[in-house]
């Protein structure tokens, strides 16, 4: 991964110099350890701002919605799947894009690391499989697989599914991971226990909507919770309204979600709302053999009828 940054900069510079794109969307170094900031580069001489490491978890597809320019975009596996979804849903045209593919080894969950170290993290360095953090108490090294975001730990599409450039050779995909163990555990609960589980899951929500706003699928011009004429959902901390937001948002993502983890990563209070979308991902896979965003030529599961679609839910 050490060459990724250099290769991204070279590709971005070439694309800008050759006028193949008007801008390149990527990441620049963050102002604090374990964070990078999405950015847009429009000048070839500014490409040295671009970086790549395991703190590029934001899904950059979010920044493509309805743009009209010719755009170069840095895309790891999940971003590329959301780009496909964006193309399918007419939020961007394939011809506008030069996709700079990044084979991904997973993104770091900074909360996990923060919880495991004493004191503030002052600096971070990483190799392909290890992360070393320095605090005032000294250095600690973690195996990267132990500090990955949960969705990355079970990701089976690390390589971009669509790309025009690649910054490195593809990485091996993870085989034999149980993607849906967490969903299965919830499915196994009694209805009462499940209800309590979701109540506790959502209790810390402050309705900042960071999950929705980080999500590349949530591009509605006006979200249903923001409708005011008429207003569909109350604005208070009433648990019913909080649930309505989370449950309905999840359903809006059915058959579209790539489990990129943007929602959970963005949440300031650490709610794993991915459990909701993952259940729907699992249903789509089980019922229709569908995983979102793998090919721009396939119509989404909830967009087509097939004669052999399961129908035993119709009573």
């Amino acid at each position: 991964m050490s060459t990724y940054t250099e290769n991204i900069q070279q590709i971005a510079q070439r694309l800008l110099k050759e006028c193949r794109v008007e801008m390149v969307i990527g990441f620049r170094k963050g102002s604090m350890p374990l964070m990078n900031e999405p950015c847009v580069i429009t000048q070839p001489e500014a490409v040295n701002q671009l970086v790549w490491d395991s703190n590029c978890g934001i899904n950059l597809t979010h920044y493509l919605t309805n743009r009209k320019e010719k755009i170069g975009i840095v895309a790891k596996g999940c971003d590329s799947r959301n780009i496909v979804t964006h193309i399918t849903e007419n939020k961007i045209q394939r011809e506008q894009l030069v996709i700079i593919g990044v084979p991904c080894l997973g993104m770091i969950d900074r909360r996990k690391i923060n919880a495991m170290v004493e004191g503030d993290i002052q600096s971070v360095s990483e190799t392909d499989d290890a992360v070393t953090v320095a605090t005032r108490n000294g250095e600690q090294t973690f195996a990267k697989m132990d500090v990955l975001q949960q969705n990355c730990a079970v990701c089976v599409h690390r390589n971009p599914v669509i790309h025009d450039e690649m910054v490195a050779d593809p990485v091996p995909e993870q085989n034999g991971v149980d993607q849906y163990a967490d969903v299965a555990a919830i499915e196994a609960m009694t209805p009462d226990a499940r209800w309590r589980f979701f109540d506790e899951l959502l209790a810390p929500c402050i309705r900042c909507y960071a999950c929705r706003n980080a999500c590349p699928l949530c591009y509605c011009p006006t979200c249903f919770v923001d409708e005011s004429k008429p207003q569909w959902v109350g604005k208070s901390q009433d648990p019913m309204d909080v649930r309505t937001f989370h449950f309905l948002r999840a359903y809006h993502c059915a058959g579209r979600c790539t489990d990129c983890g943007a929602c959970e990563r963005a949440c300031p209070v650490g709610i794993n709302m991915r459990l909701l979308t993952k259940k729907l991902n699992k249903d789509c896979l089980d019922l229709y053999g569908w995983e979102a965003g793998l090919s721009p030529d396939a119509r989404p599961a909830l967009d087509v009828y097939k004669a052999n679609d399961p129908e035993d839910f119709i009573k």
Binding site: G30, M32, Y209
Partner: protein, 351 residues
């Protein structure tokens, strides 16, 4: 100034003595982080924290607060009359608030307590509260309070300041309210602690390694700042969520909503955020702040320019670093202020 020594082993018993006369609030750890909440009988505040994930502003400014209640029943003689709901404004003590967060409440007070308007809900809760601060010995990497007019031992907004001395606290009693609380708790062991407090304060201030630059903001032309070419780049990454505003101890904006079910209703206020499009949506459908760039600019202009100009009391930020740590896309108010300050600097040099 009076300094009282409190053995740590005596703290819980002292707090218990307060319970007859005060409701107690303090930091409590949930699964992963600390937050302020009411302490149940026998529950001690957990003072082993750097700062709480969310600010304690909800203690005086709840995220959702019912203001009025009404009946829509035409046969009810009280029908269609909005009445204030009963509230508990009995004395309360907030134990372990950080100095930055107490200073933040004094900034918010400038908005809720003016000559023209006095917000009864906010003021009643604020005035009912005695704030026992906990000085900050180990500030974090995103703490920049010392350049905001606050500091790890800052006393503004506090009634008592506790300074940790390993096996005991030195309590600086700062107000009559604080004095009353210390007496009620039975803390009365005078100590000659000024030197120790000063020493700890100097060490804590030296431990703050990061700063916000604001010196040219007051003199800057507001329109030059407003029209500066910095905003597109600052706002590009912004996803327009409310994380920064909701975690901020100084953000005070709210929305008023009526919620009725059947023929009963309440009028409530909920935190709102200048990051949300709906915040400025007119009933006509026109939205004067219709893009995220405009909304992002508003947040920083309010904190770093409009507030500065309106109150002449520095910036509307206490350097707690919550927005920096929690922003999903790493927008950093220190960087933004530096860019805004540069605009002010450039204007100074213009002839």
């Amino acid at each position: 100034m009076k300094v009282i020594k409190i053995e740590k082993s005596d703290l819980a018993a002292g707090l218990d003595k307060l319970r007859g006369g005060y409701r107690l609030f303090g930091p409590v750890k949930d699964k992963t982080s600390h937050g302020f909440q009411e302490l149940a009988a026998g529950q001690a505040p957990d003072l082993a924290f750097q700062n709480t994930r969310l600010s304690p502003k909800n203690l005086v400014f709840p995220q959702s607060e019912t203001l009025l209640a009404y009946s829509l029943d035409g046969n009810d003689p009280e029908g269609h009359i909005a009445r204030e709901v009963d509230k508990d404004y009995s004395p309360r003590a907030v134990i372990g608030i950080r100095p930055c967060d107490a200073k933040a409440l004094t900034l918010v007070k400038m908005n809720f307590d003016t000559d023209a308007f006095k917000d009864p809900y906010w003021l009643n809760l604020y005035n009912a509260s005695t704030f026992v601060g906990l000085a900050c010995d180990a500030p974090g990497g995103t703490c920049f309070c010392t350049t905001t007019g606050s500091g790890p031992f800052h006393e503004e907004g506090l009634d008592v300041l506790l300074v940790d001395q390993h096996d005991h606290f030195l309590a600086k009693v700062l107000t009559d309210k604080g004095e009353k609380l210390m007496t009620a708790a039975g803390f009365n062991q005078s100590a000659d602690g000024d030197a120790a407090v000063e020493k700890a304060k100097t060490a804590a201030e030296a431990a703050i390694t990061t700063a916000i630059v604001t010196d040219s903001l007051a003199a800057a032309d507001p329109m030059a700042l407003y029209n500066a070419d910095i905003w597109e780049d600052i706002a590009f990454a912004c996803i327009n969520c409310g994380t920064c505003t909701f975690s901020c101890p100084t953000c005070w904006c709210f929305d008023i909503q009526d919620e009725a079910q059947g023929n009963k209703g309440v009028r409530m206020r909920n935190w709102d955020s200048c990051m949300f499009p709906l915040f400025t949506m007119h009933t006509t459908g026109h939205n004067p702040r219709d893009t995220k760039v405009k909304r992002t600019r508003q947040r920083f202009m309010h904190k770093l320019k409009y507030f500065v100009d309106k109150y002449n009391a520095g910036i509307m930020c206490v350097g707690c670093g919550r927005c920096v740590r929690q922003c999903p896309v790493n927008i950093d108010i220190r960087k933004v202020s530096a860019l805004m300050n540069n605009v002010g600097d450039a204007a100074k040099c213009a002839v």
